[in-house]
């Protein structure tokens, strides 16, 4: 409605301008151009807004309203565990290895396999890397020598809604495709697992200990 009214006015004005233009064309050819240009600049309504195709590319008004993202700590989502007795709750598939590329590729494979089999993958994350120093004690020597530094990488794929009849098949497939050097652990998700991902805050703990 609102858009229609100025359109009508524009059209009328446009028509008037054109008539004026037609009239003035006869009179002074040199002044015409200035007149025409001035008319376009001075007019309050722009002619393209009256075109029927105005706003043809608009789409943002069609999208669902985006909630502003809050930078907050992730709250746990826990499903009903075999409350139905036929479905598992959140299950963690943990893959550990010394070789990072291998474990990442395997985690990718497991994720895609679950996608293929329409199992909902809730989260897929990496645990912090653990570094171990291997100290070598020489025979007839008391000094421990640094032999190697080993880094252990762990990737976790969290799935939910695994039915109990399908779980053995999935487990078998993952087990048969396990590469060399990768430890596989499949367990149910607990709060302790969630807490493992977060960094310990020693100052906070100290203060808490002082307080209580």
């Amino acid at each position: 409605m609102m858009a229609a009214v100025p359109k009508v006015l524009c059209w009328e004005k446009g028509a008037m301008l054109r008539q004026l233009f037609a009239l003035s064309r006869v009179s002074t050819p040199t002044e015409n151009h200035l007149c025409a240009a001035g008319a376009a600049l001075l007019s309050c309504h722009r002619s393209y807004r009256s075109r029927p195709t105005h706003g043809i590319g608009r789409y943002k008004y069609l999208l669902p309203a985006e909630t502003p993202k809050k930078k907050k700590d992730r709250v746990q989502m826990k499903e009903i565990n075999p409350g139905t007795e036929f479905e598992y709750g959140d299950v963690n598939i943990q893959m550990t290895s010394y070789d990072m590329c291998l474990v990442e590729h395997f985690a990718q494979y497991v994720h895609r396999l679950c996608n293929r089999l329409s199992i909902k993958v809730k989260e897929s994350y990496a645990m912090p890397t653990k570094t171990n120093e291997v100290l070598f004690l020489e025979e007839k020597g008391s000094k421990m020598q640094l032999d190697a530094i080993l880094t252990t990488h762990q990737r976790v794929v969290q799935i939910s809604g695994l039915s109990s009849t399908f779980a053995p098949i999935l487990l078998e497939v993952i087990q048969s495709n396990q590469p060399e050097g990768v430890h596989l652990l499949i367990k149910q998700h607990t709060e302790a697992d969630f807490k493992n991902r977060l960094k310990a805050r020693p100052e906070l703990e100290e203060l808490l200990a002082q307080m209580g």
Partner: protein, 276 residues
């Protein structure tokens, strides 16, 4: 004998392309009311020894692996050891060109150079002898040993007497009323291999079913035939003193099953065996 599944067997989900468990609906309540089905039930156990080493790669897989390795190498950053090695090489070069220029570097800082470490590791690696992939049992084709075919699944086959025939089958036992089919299968395994078997059954649902009717001679109203439900278990510990009660047993791979099993039986068993 009323044919009703154990209370824990439930409807299979839809759309599995990996292995197809048979579909059936458990109706514990309906069992009492339904007519007595004249089928005898058996629970059979398919005991699998998982592969211990990986299978050899195909040509395309090897090429892919080489390519991925190269990509990863080129994308990666230098590790601490490599940086140290490069620095030391540079230092050596500088020292050779400008003779004994900087004295503070000589003061026993690098007693062990990175290159020496590498040489030491290389020597250690050469001394390491991995176990052979093709074992003795493979060469002599001893089918009763577990050390054979380390890269594929091995299954247990037992010779059992059915009717008046001695057949090679997966170990099975008859179902007694009051127990679940899974425990029947476990009992079957225990009778053939002893109690201290560390095998893990992953789920409560069977993997397959084989149905057969008795030959007309023995068939009666109440005893039309038998249904065998298969369960799968994975062997956890590979070395156990094989106290075999029945002497004839074999550990075979999926390909070799055809030598021993009857064709109909083999068809049903093949359906749920996953051999990657």
């Amino acid at each position: 004998m009323a044919g009703h599944c154990g209370t824990r067997v439930m409807a299979a989900p839809l759309g599995q392309r990996v292995a197809g468990p048979a579909r059936w609906v458990c109706s514990a309540a309906a069992a009492a009311a339904a007519a007595r089905r004249p089928w005898r039930l058996f629970g059979a156990m398919c005991l699998l020894r998982l592969p211990r080493i990986t299978q050899p790669l195909e040509k395309e897989e090897e090429e892919m692996m080489a390519l991925m390795g190269q990509i990863e190498l080129e994308k990666s950053h230098y590790s601490d050891h490599e940086i140290r090695k490069l620095e030391e090489e540079e230092r050596l070069k500088r020292r050779k060109e400008s003779l004994y220029d900087d004295d503070d570097e000589v003061t026993g800082r690098t007693v062990i150079m990175a290159q020496d470490l590498e040489d030491k590791w290389e020597q250690k690696f050469l001394r390491f002898k991995p176990a052979p992939r093709i074992t003795d049992a493979d060469k002599k084709n001893i089918r009763t040993s577990l050390n054979r075919k380390l890269d594929s699944n091995l299954m247990l086959l037992v010779k059992q007497k059915i009717g008046n025939q001695e057949l090679w089958l997966l170990p099975q036992a008859e179902w007694q009323p009051g127990e679940t089919l899974r425990s029947t299968a476990e009992r079957a395994m225990a009778t053939f291999l002893g109690d201290h078997i560390q095998a893990k059954i992953l789920g409560n649902a069977p993997y397959g079913i084989y149905k057969y009717k008795f030959p007309r001679a023995i068939r009666t109203e109440d005893n039309v035939g038998a249904k065998v439900f298969f369960f799968k278990a994975f062997l956890q510990s590979t070395d156990f003193t094989q106290t075999e009660l029945k002497a004839d047993y074999l550990w075979v791979t999926k390909n070799e099953l055809g030598d021993y099993l009857k064709p109909e039986y083999l068809k049903k068993v093949d359906r749920f065996l996953l051999d990657l």
